[in-house]
């Protein structure tokens, strides 16, 4: 909300400067979001008297004016039609920055006549769009005076971002009270004494609620005024209302806005002659409609609170008044409403109708209910002062709640919770300044009565906070947390470490880590096994992001497509993040996902280009599994990867029946559906499915190094084409677990001379003697075992 410094000083007796007040507001939790000090910008603009305005010798539409500025006469060439001898206007000397045009004023010759300044229009001053002529000031305006000062524009505007708990500060009064408590001055008293009525109100009030809805409007106070003159409100009021963003309308309406801004006490004024019979409040029926004061029409539902008269609905209680009974310049008799509306219903109504009004903002945060009668007296004084007329007696329906909440608070909690010793008397005085009543109720116990404008005091800590806040959070001495251990203990879980190992492994393998949104389009989700309606967002930000992703793949593939569209060709991306199978916590898994596209490396003079393929993905997946401590030696590859992979170029890495990773080239249809270009070699590891190591031993197993030289024997086998190489390798390795250390595959080919449906696989077997060097006979026997094992398990024959 906005306040002005001058307005603030109507409530706060203070010598403090603007800067001091701004700093204090921030210190006590009333965050200053901006200060607009127009006096500085408008400083060069002063009141000038046009001594003489004559026709320009060389231009029909221009006049040459001699302007008395208060410090000498200046010649100005002016094009305004209303420039005339004897007028007073706003003068700016050469060199002035003109806010409305953004230009600096220069000394110039206009059609051969020197011009040393300017007479300004409102638009040139940045005040409005008015540009039909220059500003025409009243005759009695003192020459040489600061324009900002005489027009009230020198009043700095402070914009405050209120937290939702501080409804009490949604008024100049409330802010002044907090500042006074914080030592910025003295809060002035208000004259709320009753103004006697001179007649009975001809309009009655009725609250038409049942027990269940009575709290929608617990009290409604009204007062009838007769013989009013509803002209424009005075300049001081208009200037301030404009400064905080309100458009002056008429004295009566401005008074209600003034009460809202000044005291946080919304009010409404009816043209009493337009009201039919009794005014009241009730719960709306669904489908009632009315024309509101903001020139829009609204329709009710059956949870809203409406104001009615005998003719029907007049307005929405606590939100907005109606056009039909609004006060205007012809209003002679008025009826002032000061009512209490339930915060929750008011908020719901405003939200449903997407209608933010000053009244709603205050009611939904909670106003000072007990202040309603006093608010009516203050409204009455303003009406009588600005519009004349006579007030009726006050009419009241319902009961204004006046009781104050009482809380038990231990003063010792200031030190215990706040970490600062504040003198008890000082604490009591802070609370007193804020309107709390404090009395001793025992050893280390206060009985605290909460002022009726504070709805944010729910527990003892809230009251302690008030003392700490006004005393200053900055005053609390900083204390480092005591150390629990002389040397910090490691804290990451095995899973958290695996996330980090995976990340740095993939980055070291040349992939760039991305972070993509957890939601993707439901179309894309379905292409990757998603589509669970329970994971569709009720209120997505767009249809591109309407479903929780079943996998990181679609989002990453979209990222690939975006990069390809930017001309990137050969790269790899990875992401470590959540995938969602259900809304349950167990439905969320951490996946490590990566993909490479384009060529295996950038084009280079020394090597042949190669498109990325399934084995790039497999290598990435296995590198991650190895890095996170999965038993990669025992993994088996199956060919049942999901549909979104290329059916012949994808696989699943399994530990027994359990799938740890899928890898392969993505299905070309999926790739093109997401506007990417293939091939795309991708993998996905479900981190939680990788078993954690059984042993947490830090020491390594002992290394046994054989003193005997290892021997390598190569074999080439011919097998049926559909025999997986992995099976052959496993057979060879299993031929003698004691002596065979490693089996590597170094050649695969198919060819006519092998026969149709046959392929050759060449392997190197590394034999590590353990007890003694092997004799030729022993090596021969071992080779026979390898050949036999391969033959038995794969049907493979040694190639001649």
């Amino acid at each position: 909300m906005k306040i002005t410094l001058d307005w603030l000083k109507r409530h706060l007796e203070t010598e403090a400067t603007l800067d001091e007040i701004v700093a204090c507001l921030n210190r006590i939790g009333l965050e200053v979001e901006g200060v607009e000090d127009r006096a500085a910008e408008l400083a060069p603009f002063t009141v000038g008297y046009v001594v003489k305005a004559e026709q320009h010798p060389n231009a029909d539409r221009l006049r040459v004016c001699i302007v008395e500025t208060g410090s000498g006469e200046v010649q100005v060439v002016c094009g305004a039609p209303n420039a005339r001898t004897g007028m007073k206007g706003v003068f700016a000397p050469s060199g002035t920055h003109v806010p409305g045009t953004g230009l600096d004023l220069k000394e110039s010759e206009i059609r051969g006549v020197a011009s040393r300044g300017m007479l300004c229009s409102e638009r040139e001053m940045g005040l409005s769009d008015e540009h039909d002529g220059i500003i025409d000031l009243p005759e009695d305006t003192p020459v040489g005076a600061s324009f900002a000062a005489i027009s009230g524009l020198d009043d700095p505007i402070i914009e405050i971002g209120l937290t939702p708990d501080r409804g009490d500060c949604f008024s100049v009064r409330g802010i002044a009270r907090d500042l006074a408590a914080a030592g910025m001055g003295t809060l002035k008293s208000l004259d709320t004494s009753p103004v006697p009525g001179t007649c009975k109100s001809p309009i009655d009030i009725e609250l038409r609620f049942d027990e269940a809805t009575r709290d929608a409007c617990p009290a409604f106070i009204g007062r009838y005024f007769k013989g009013l003159t509803n002209g424009a409100s005075p300049a001081w009021m208009q200037q301030k209302l404009k400064a905080v963003g309100l458009r002056p309308i008429s004295a009566l309406v401005d008074i209600t806005n003034w009460l809202t801004m000044d005291l946080g006490r919304p009010a409404h004024i009816y043209d009493a002659d337009k009201v039919k019979g009794t005014i009241g409040a009730r719960i709306a029926e669904a489908g009632e409609t009315f024309d509101a004061l903001n020139d829009k029409s609204y329709e009710t539902d059956d949870a809203m609170t409406v104001i009615f008269d005998d003719s029907g609905m007049l307005g929405l209680g606590g939100v907005v008044g109606g056009e039909s009974t609004g006060a205007d310049e012809n209003t002679v008799n008025g009826f002032m409403e000061i009512a209490l509306f339930d915060p929750i219903r008011t908020a719901a109504t405003g939200r449903k109708l997407e209608l933010v009004t000053d009244a709603r903002q205050r009611f939904e945060r909670g106003i000072d209910n007990a202040f309603a009668p006093e608010g009516m007296e203050m409204a009455t004084r303003l009406v009588l002062e600005l519009c004349g007329g006579e007030p009726s007696e006050v009419v009241t329906a319902g009961t204004v709640p006046t009781e104050q909440k009482t809380m038990s608070v231990r003063p010792s909690r200031i030190l215990e919770l706040g970490g600062i010793a504040i003198d008890k008397a000082r604490a009591e005085s802070i609370l007193g300044d804020l309107g709390f009543g404090v009395s001793d109720a025992g050893d280390d116990l206060w009985s605290v009565t909460v002022p009726t404008w504070r709805h944010d005091m729910g527990c003892e800590a809230d009251v302690i906070e008030e003392v700490l806040r006004i005393n200053g959070f900055d005053e609390v001495p900083m204390v480092s947390l005591p150390r629990e251990a002389p040397v910090a203990r490691p804290v990451l879980s095995i899973r958290q470490k695996r996330v980090r190992w995976s990340r740095r492994t993939l980055a070291s393998r040349g992939l760039n880590e991305a972070v993509t949104y957890s939601f993707v389009s439901s179309n894309h989700a379905r292409m990757f096994g998603g589509g669970n309606q329970g994971l569709t967002l009720v209120n997505p930000i767009s249809s591109d992001m309407d479903m929780m992703r079943p996998s990181v793949l679609p989002g990453l593939l979209e990222a690939v497509a975006r990069n390809q569209a930017r001309g990137m060709a050969d790269f790899g991306l990875f992401e470590i993040g959540p995938a969602y199978a259900s809304t349950e916590p167990e439905g969320q898994t951490t996946t490590v996902t990566g993909m490479r596209v384009g060529r295996s490396g950038a084009r280079h003079w020394s090597q042949k280009e190669r498109a990325v393929d399934v084995f790039d993905a497999k290598a990435d997946a296995m590198a991650v599994l190895e890095a996170i401590g999965a038993p990669v030696e025992n993994l088996q590859t199956t060919t049942d990867a999901p549909d979104w992979f290329h059916p012949g170029r994808s696989g699943v890495l399994r530990l027994g029946p359990k799938s740890l990773a899928v890898f392969g080239e993505l299905h070309p249809q999926v790739v093109s559906a997401l506007d990417a270009s293939g091939p795309v070699a991708a993998f996905e590891i479900a981190l939680e499915s990788v078993p954690e190591p059984k042993s947490r031993a830090i020491a390594r197993a002992r290394l046994d190094v054989s003193p005997y030289q290892a021997v390598r024997r190569d074999f080439a086998f011919v097998v049926d084409s559909d025999v997986p190489a992995e099976k052959l390798l496993r057979a060879a390795k299993g031929a003698d677990r004691a002596l065979i250390r490693e089996v590597s595959l170094f050649d695969v080919f198919e060819g006519e001379r092998l026969g149709v449906g046959r392929k050759s696989i060449a392997i190197g077997v590394t034999i590590q003697p353990v007890k003694a060097t092997l004799t030729d006979e022993e090596l021969e026997a071992l080779s026979d075992k390898v050949v036999a094992a391969v033959a038995k398990q794969t049907g493979g024959e040694l190639r001649g």
């Binding site: 937290t163 003892e460 906070e465 939601f519």
Partner: protein
Amino acid sequence: MQDQINTIRDDVLAQVEGVSDLKSLDDIRVAALGKKGQITGLMKQLGGLDPDQRREVGQELNRVKDAVQAAIDARKSDLERAELNRRLEVERVDVSLPPRPEMQGSVHPVSQVMDEIVAIFCEMGFSVAEGPDIEGDWLNFGALNIPDEHPARQEHDTFYLPAQSDDEARPVLRTHTSPVQVRHMLSSQPPIRIIAPGRTYRSDSDMTHTPMFHQVEGLVIDETTHMGHLKGCLRDFVEAFFQVDNVPMRFRPSYFPFTAPSMEIDIGCSFRDGELKIGEGDDWLEILGSGMVHPNVLRNGGIDPDKYQGFAFGMGIDRVAMLKYGIPDLRSFFDSDLRWLRHYGFRALDVPTLYGGLAR
């Protein structure tokens, strides 16, 4: 015979001197010292000499043989060196050619900054807790003392998923990492020191907001931790994280339903010529919200508020990453633009440590 020996020696040595390739040199060796070589032939004739002569000529022959052998070896070594030099000359390449390219991977700034944050708080005895992104209404709001009518619960802020049944509240995408506080309290007993980094979601998308962002939650609960500790802990964090001593800090009272007292924390900075400097100047930047845990939240976490107290904080990870590393646009964090990832990303081996520093 002596003359013959001398002639052969001079002849062979001359040949060795004149030879220019290894093959010819070997031919010379064979012709002189081979089985049928001249010197070998003379050796064979020694048997026909009388013993005195045999000894004398034999010694002479051996000397000549050694000299020839030495000359051949020396020449061979020269020729081999020359040949190697020739080969090396042929192998010369343009070493200014670029080497074979390797792809340069990178770690996302969010991950890196999370690691930095973990390193600092680990040092202060915090462990790392986690919770799911899809939360129940109660854990995201109710347990955190956020009443039903609080503006944060309205649809314009929170992403909802369909309710499982009519009488159940709709699950939400957590709007903050604070539900992890409650989860952790429910599953453990004080003393508690945790941080909880993770993804958070709000239905907001403009220049400075993305519908997903990252937060780190902090929670300390024991019998004595007070606001002074909150301030001290966060000062210690800020100075370690930004690697600036004596960062000016401002503790502004604020409001969060789950803390009392509540505060927002600003750090001093300057904006000059479009460049942000932390720790100096007259401007302030808000970096986190915090406060003393509200008794209702402790109670909802199964912890007795009459015995225990402590503080909590929530900080935007993306935001502090932007501040620390001068990254201008939040939206770019989630765009996966390779140029951005490579420019603002970190090398795989840049693991942040306190001993090595928390920035490269």
